[in-house]
């Protein structure tokens, strides 16, 4: 299965890492790798999440992640592709 990397911009608020990690654990999705770092905007952080999922399962992860109120946008970095797929999370991929 191909590894997919998600670039997730989140609000820099307390507990946001726990929310994301908790979502993966509760929905029984495996995280291959996770890193968190700052962005140029002090109010947001960037998470890079690598998962071993594709197709429908990957779509579900993205949809569930996007439901977190503190998640602002999700970009999928496709392996071996020059361009990233930007998930149309604004505004219609929201709940």
């Amino acid at each position: 299965m191909a590894q997919h990397s998600l670039e997730v911009i989140v609000e820099n608020s307390p507990g946001v890492l726990a929310r994301v990690a908790g979502l993966f654990s509760r929905r029984a999705y495996n995280i291959e790798r996770l890193s968190v770092g700052p962005t140029s905007n002090p109010e947001t952080s960037k998470m890079e999440i690598v998962v071993n999922l594709e197709g429908h399962a990957l779509e579900q992860v993205i949809a569930q992640l996007d439901k977190l109120i503190n998640v602002i946008s999700i970009k999928e970095i496709v392996p071996n592709a020059a361009k990233a797929i930007v998930h149309d999370t604004q505004p219609d991929y929201q709940n």
């Binding site: 989140v10 507990g15 726990a18 979502l23 109120i69 602002i72 604004q90 505004p91 219609d92 709940n95």
Partner: protein
């Protein structure tokens, strides 16, 4: 802007959010808030257990469509809210919970009555906050109400450190809320509506699979118009009872584990599921791989993560159902004008199933009271304007099956979490939200013993609900599974509740009128007696036959095709043309 402490800012924020009632219990960490509550216009109802506060907020919200509010102290007060908040999450109910937290300097030290309620509720709450700066209180409250009540509704918790309630702050309630990561979509894309209309006009065996989302979206009237326009059969899930009138000829009843043969079969044999605010729950689909195998799926919902979660979807329609259905009606008219499939053979098949396999029950030979009969009479005598709130178990399934629901927001139950103890406090909240409506709790003898203490709250606060205990002296639903799947080995399901407790006496002790009935010929008079008492809560102990079972049944994990109408009895499929 004016200077006040955080507690006053909290109460002023709740008033600004339009709160008229809240249910709660004070304690150390939340105590500062109870001082301004004392002089607030908001009615505070002092419950006897925080679980009751949470379910009452839920019942209030389900009946009114407004946000229900509950409030508790830190530690055990907050953890007692966990069950009702998880319940509200599973059933998409807009609830805001306010909890006190230990002072901010003590957070993380295992201080007295400290519990990380934000962490505890994180997996299921729609969102939650820990507020340690009093200046953040108004914004947190405004956001909490916005998040709870928009999109797919759900519970939001605001945990506030005690020192944030005590410190001075400016009160400044935001005029509007804007959240970068949360913009629920209201109206569906025009293309998805057109695609849905085209697919409907191309199908000859469509069925409306209606879930609780239709009630949440206040879209019952639109649904009626759409269903009549197409003339296709309708099924309403446990959460959607009342979304479409039970008396309507197109209604086939409830699908799922204890659904009608017609409703279950309609889903199984359909060539198109027009799914409106439902989520393909396992209690509806049975074994997923054999569910509606020949059906295409239109899935309209406000929550994008539900669309395609359990079942592949051909046409996703993302948006608020009120807008979606309203847009679908004219689009479908256009599509049907071009091509109108003949649904007559399909309707004839379904109506023949409906006629051949109506819901029914055996009357006990020993002259004892049948639980289904009691519930049927309750529905008939009290009528379609009544609000019914049920517990969880056999009585819940019978209350869903044998009462005719004609209006949305008249049937409240714990569908997703299946929370025993829901009925009495939810009925209390419902009665507060609809004081002029008759509210009956239909409860099990097991469930009733979990939360009946809120009858004291009802008696003291002039909340005259009525409770029908369907006393089969057992954890009946579990006992039914033991009968069917564990060779009748009744391990720990006998409650002996015809002996202890004495329910009418217990009711009287809590300031209610207690009645009892164990003969079929007394049922009507007992119900009428209960209906005539409106200045006090009433509890009726209906002492029923313990061996009655819920049918039809699709055993857990099996295919809907394996539906049984009685023990070891499948429908006579050969006599049906399907």
């Amino acid at each position: 802007m004016s200077q006040m402490n955080g507690a006053s800012s909290l109460v002023a924020s709740l008033e600004a959010a339009g709160v008229d009632v809240m249910f709660g219990i004070p304690g150390g960490a939340i105590l500062p808030a109870y001082d301004p509550i004392f002089s607030s216009s908001i009615r505070h109802i002092l419950v006897r257990h925080e679980q009751g506060a949470g379910h009452a907020a839920t019942g209030y919200a389900q009946v009114t469509g407004r946000v229900g509010v509950c409030i508790a102290t830190s530690g055990p007060g907050a953890t007692n809210l966990v069950t009702p908040l998880a319940d509200a999450a599973m059933d998409s109910v807009p609830v805001v919970a306010i909890t006190g937290q230990v002072p901010s300097v003590a957070i993380g030290t295992d201080a007295f009555q400290e519990a990380d309620i934000r962490g505890i509720t994180m997996p299921f709450a729609k969102h939650n906050y820990l507020v340690t700066d009093p200046a953040d209180i108004p914004r947190a409250i405004a956001e909490a109400f916005h998040i709870a009540s928009t999109g797919r509704p759900g519970p939001v918790l605001v945990d506030i450190a005690k020192d944030a309630l005590q410190k001075l702050t400016e009160f400044n309630y935001p005029n509007s809320v804007s959240l970068k990561g949360y913009q629920p979509k209201l109206s569906a894309d025009a293309q998805s509506i057109l695609d849905a209309a085209a697919l409907i006009a191309a199908s000859s065996k469509p069925v409306f699979y209606v879930g609780g989302g239709v009630i949440k979206a206040n879209a019952s009237r639109e649904l009626l118009e759409l269903a009549q326009l197409l003339g296709a059969p309708v099924v309403t899930t446990l959460m959607a009872r009342g979304a479409f009138p039970d008396s309507h000829p197109l209604h086939l009843g409830m699908p799922g584990m204890h659904g009608t043969v017609a409703a279950v079969t309609a889903l199984q044999k359909a060539d198109l599921l027009i799914t409106l605010g439902a989520r393909f729950d396992d209690r509806v689909t049975g074994k997923l791989s054999s569910f509606a195998v020949n059906a295409k799926v239109i899935h309209a919902d406000v929550d994008p993560a539900e669309i395609g979660k359990n079942r592949f979807v051909d046409v996703p329609v993302l948006g608020d159902l009120k807008f979606t259905i309203a847009a679908l009606i004219p689009a479908l008219k256009v599509a049907l004008a071009k091509n109108r499939p003949d649904l007559t053979p399909w309707l004839r098949q379904m109506n023949s199933l409906k006629a051949a396999y109506p819901l029914g029950y055996d009357t006990p030979k020993d002259g004892s009271l049948s639980p289904q009969y009691v519930i049927e009479r309750l529905g008939k005598i009290s009528g379609p304007d009544t609000i019914f709130a049920s517990g969880v178990g056999q009585h819940q399934m019978w209350a869903s099956q044998f009462i005719s629901y004609e209006n949305p927001r008249t049937w409240l139950n714990s569908g997703g979490l299946g929370t025993m103890g829901y009925a009495v406090p939810a009925a209390m909240g419902a009665k507060v939200g609809a004081p002029d409506t008759t509210v009956w709790a239909i409860d099990g003898d097991g469930c009733f013993q979990m939360t009946n203490q809120e009858l004291t709250t009802c008696a003291l606060n002039n909340i005259p609900i009525k409770v029908a205990i369907i006393n089969n002296e057992s954890l009946g639903m579990v006992r039914q599974w033991q009968t069917l799947f564990y060779e009748g080995r009744y391990s720990n399901t006998s409650l002996e509740s015809k002996r202890i407790p004495n329910f009418p006496m217990l009711a009287e002790a809590m300031g209610c009128v207690g009645l009892s009935c164990d003969r079929p010929e007394d049922v009507d008079a007992t119900i009428e007696k209960a209906m005539s008492i409106n200045n006090q809560p009433v509890v009726v102990d209906f002492r029923v036959n313990r061996d009655a079972m819920v049918w039809p049944m699709v055993a857990a994990g099996t295919s809907n095709d394996e539906i049984m109408i009685a023990r070891e009895t499948a429908p006579d499929w050969d006599s049906q043309e399907l």
